[in-house]
Symmetry: C2
Subunit: 136 residues, 2 copies
Amino acid sequence: MPIKTPFVAVDGIIQLFDSNDNFQGIVLIERKNPPLGLAIPGGFVEIGESVEDALKREMKEETGLNVEIVRLLGVYSQPDRDPRFHTVSITFVCNGYGRPEAHSDAKEVKIFKLEDIPFDKLVFDHAKILKDYIMR
Amino acid sequence: MPIKTPFVAVDGIIQLFDSNDNFQGIVLIERKNPPLGLAIPGGFVEIGESVEDALKREMKEETGLNVEIVRLLGVYSQPDRDPRFHTVSITFVCNGYGRPEAHSDAKEVKIFKLEDIPFDKLVFDHAKILKDYIMR
């Protein structure tokens, strides 16, 4: 019997710091592909790479930033969280350094102070994930 | 381009308690299928179920125990951790109640006090996972 499981993705809440180590806010992307809207940067894990390596690769691909992982925030796996198919998101908090630039699936990269996050514009279950991040 | 990601599995470190709430030890299984050896109970997540539901289902299927999730221990994803194919394990700590019985992929169910775990008999990266559990 062939094994079938949900897809595995990684998402990263990037805490952006400037060159003086001042916190600038978190990095969100305006998605280029459906579902359209604002999202935490992320993407699918490739066969043969660890989730930590996938996270660093995806953050670099979508935002141009090098990141350091701070902690595992959680695993988000409700079957209806992704309207396309069942995706399990392994979500990390990380620190980013440098100047973000939109690439890959990101049409635009935006920085938000925590009190300015537009929760109603977030796709997937990213509003819930960001609330978990702020509350923990 | 079709999406291909590693398989997603859940594993559970079951802290077993008796009817007086005395801690009995943790539950490990002697595997029936390759790789043979001692393992933390676990299995693959099905499409359409959350990782928490998968964890409860797998613990019941392999050990006969009902479990309550205590916390997420970590996500283990080194590509070579499973000799068969790339599997990402989402590992939880949970409490189990009742009398364990071997079912499904478990040939035998065993209870170990933490100081008696035979680390050299564990398959996959379960020795590392159990060390993380004891140290955190």
